[in-house]
Amino acid sequence: MLPDFYSLKKKLLYKVNKKLRVIVAKESGFVGTISKTQCFEGHRNKIIGSDGKVIQDQPFHEETSTFQVPLPLMDKIGPNEIEQKLIEMAKDMASSQKKYFFNTMNKLIDDAGNSIDAKGKKFSVELFLKGLETIELDFNTDGTPHYPTLMMHPNMRQLAYEELNKIEEDPEIKKKHDAILQRKRSEWIIRENNRKLVG
């Protein structure tokens, strides 16, 4: 064995992994902002909703990403190249993590019957309002709605702004939107009232 610093390098690798996790979270966009919790043992997760029904019961899913350094290049690459490879690996991990997240979410949404098929049409405020009807909306204590996060391709951003601005600009659309909010507020109040212990 050649001279080494085995235990210290383990600690350094831990620091590298921590940095990579930050990059993965950043590259994952919205998915990276979702809070993570820790499972300390076991091999499965089971989520049971407030109605007692099982929402999800499945084994842990492993995400991996690798990079390779061909043997002939081993002595030629330096710290910058390795760092670059690690960043690429983190981006790859972020990409597969996002893919897995959306695949899982889409399946859950389809199973719940909450998906809307736009049949190839572009994003529109009408589509947005249709989506708003299907979801549960929470409200802040000052009465303002806690809107969901819209996930879309960056190219759609301008169109989305234009369409959503119609809620304030177009009286008909505003009326429709406010009516939906009113219904959602009532549903929210019922949900919050259900948090009281009866009897």
Partner: protein
């Protein structure tokens, strides 16, 4: 036998006091076919014989132990124990389980060597003993104990002790530190082959594993025994109990095979507990080691919480089991009052300790104060674990030392990568306890916030995995509280009987169950808490 391991056993013998080698010696006797009838607790009511057994032929044996670590039994020591020896050989065996045995074998046991003049003196005494009592004093010394240990180890260690390196790490660690339960449990679990897919062992192999597991446990705890680090010794024997329980449950072993060892380990724990409390009772100071870090980081409060829980365990044990107390009841109550004033909650791993404290306090107090205490724990947990909380109480998988390491030393701080707000492993249990005690107004007031906190729990894939420190196989359950919900629904849940979910090992021994969750705090669950509350309220 592996020369290194022989040296380790010799080292252990050469450094153990009489009390330190007493329990492992009992395990050696069990391995030799003895049935333990009595093992002294060194309390006010001593029978004059430290250990009483029946050997494999049914003959009663009485043992008087002397501690001579690294020394010889000298003539002056021999002369000072003459009276005890006389009593040992001539006296009856005053134990209700033993009929007036005319024929029994008296033994003097020492972990040192015996000097020549002592041997001569024993020889002379035996001439008289034989004439008068028809029996002679037999002697076991260091060499004999080493032989006994080698006999049970010989077929085990070379082929089955896979992690000799881990054993050495444990054997040489700093005895003033808390036991590294992760390392210790994985090591002992390997001794019992709990992390492998082996076939059901035969009875002989099962017995050998159990008794040699005890010896290995005693050896690995040597650094802590030397430092009188009672809490680490307690943790070590709890881990051993967990391993036997896993082993016995996995292979559906008969109680006869494992119960004597389980009882002995429990005795070790209770002895270590009373030794620690007696030590604390001498000066009643909460500081250990350096004052600065103890006070700056409130480690003395963490210590007080553990002490209070140990006092409670001992108090409940004495109350449930009767017999001569290890520590006087009034002394215990005074210590309890002193420690209680300083207790703290550092995370959900403290909740089992607080529950044990609650049960003892309820046992000794006719007032509502214990229930108010329980309510305050519940309120604290709800308030600190709401979804938008910045400082939730961490899950019971994080012990006090983990928090010191992660928050104060910032070594490997993984904690900041995760969010623990909005979830709790112990809230449902506390909630249902309050329902049991009819704290309706408090529950109603806090219920809306409770509904925002997910109840977390872990269900191991097989029952025996419950006793593992960490189980690879099992389901992490995240249960959102049921809404809408009624008081009646909660009451139904709170008054259900949970004994069918509890291991039969713990059903027979609720004190052992409490001892187990005081160390394996992540094994606390709603079933556990409500079952113990049932039993301790009887």
């Amino acid at each position: 036998m592996n020369g290194l391991l022989e040296k380790i056993i010799a080292n252990w013998l050469d450094s153990s006091s009489e009390r330190a080698y007493q329990v492992p010696f009992c395990f050696l006797l069990i391995a030799d076919g003895h049935r333990i009838i009595h093992s002294t607790r060194h309390n006010a009511l001593e029978l004059g014989k430290d250990i009483i057994t029946t050997d494999s032929s049914g003959i009663v044996c009485a043992f008087q132990l002397k501690g001579n670590p690294g020394r010889n039994l000298t003539i002056s020591q021999w002369q000072s124990i003459n009276g005890q020896i006389q009593d040992l050989v001539a006296g009856d065996i005053p134990h209700p389980s033993v009929k007036k045995a005319k024929k029994f074998r008296p033994f003097l046991v020492t972990n040192g060597q015996i000097e020549e003049d002592v041997c001569r003196a024993i020889g002379d005494y035996n001439k008289t003993f034989k004439k008068r009592y028809k029996r002679t004093l037999e002697v076991m010394c260091r060499g004999d104990l080493l032989e006994m240990a080698k006999r049970i180890s010989l077929t085990l260690w070379p082929s089955e002790l896979q992690d000799t390196f881990t054993f050495l790490q444990l054997f040489t660690q700093n005895g003033k530190d808390p036991l590294d339960k992760d390392k210790f449990s994985r090591f002992l679990e390997d001794v019992f082959f709990l992390n492998s897919t082996e076939k059901k062992p035969g009875i002989d192999l099962a017995k050998r594993r159990i008794t040699s597991g005890a010896l290995i446990c005693a050896l690995a705890l040597t650094p802590f025994t030397k430092e009188n680090n009672h809490s680490s010794v307690i943790s070590g024997w709890i881990t051993y109990i967990a391993c036997i329980s896993a082993f016995a449950t996995r292979w559906n072993l008969s109680e006869k095979i494992y119960q004597p060892s389980l009882d002995l380990a429990k005795t070790s724990i209770l002895d270590a507990t009373s030794n620690m409390l007696l030590e604390f009772n001498e000066n009643k100071k909460f500081i250990e080691g350096d004052l600065i870090t103890d006070k700056l980081y409130q480690i003395d409060s963490v210590r007080a919480t553990y002490l209070c829980a140990y006092i409670s365990i001992l108090g409940l044990h004495q109350s449930l089991n009767g017999g001569p107390p290890l520590i006087n009841e009034d002394v215990l109550k005074n210590l309890f009052t002193l420690c209680f004033s300083k207790i703290t909650i550092w995370g959900e791993s403290a909740i089992p300790l607080h529950l044990i404290i609650f049960w003892y306090w309820k046992n000794i107090s006719a007032t509502q104060e214990p229930q108010t205490f329980l309510t305050n724990i519940f309120k604290t947990l709800v308030e600190t674990n709401l979804p938008d909380s910045k400082n939730p109480l961490l899950p019971p998988y994080y012990e006090a030392q983990d928090l010191i390491r992660e928050y104060l030393l910032e070594e490997n701080s993984e904690i900041t990568d995760y969010s623990f707000a909005g979830a709790s492993y112990t809230l449902e249990a506390l909630l249902l306890l309050l329902v049991r005690y009819n704290w309706k107004q408090t529950v109603k007031m806090y219920w809306p916030d409770v509904t925002r906190i997910t109840f977390r729990s872990f269900e191991p894939k097989e029952k025996w995995r419950y006793f593992l420190w960490r189980s690879e196989l099992g389901t992490n359950i995240h249960q959102v509280p049921i809404i809408p919900c009624s008081w009646e629904q909660l009451k139904e849940k709170a008054t259900k009987k949970y004994s069918s979910k509890i291991s039969k090992i713990f059903i027979k021994n609720p004190v052992l169950f409490m001892i187990f969750i005081s160390s394996y705090s992540h094994r606390i669950s709603t079933d556990t808490v409500l079952y113990l509350d049932d039993v301790l309220n009887k």
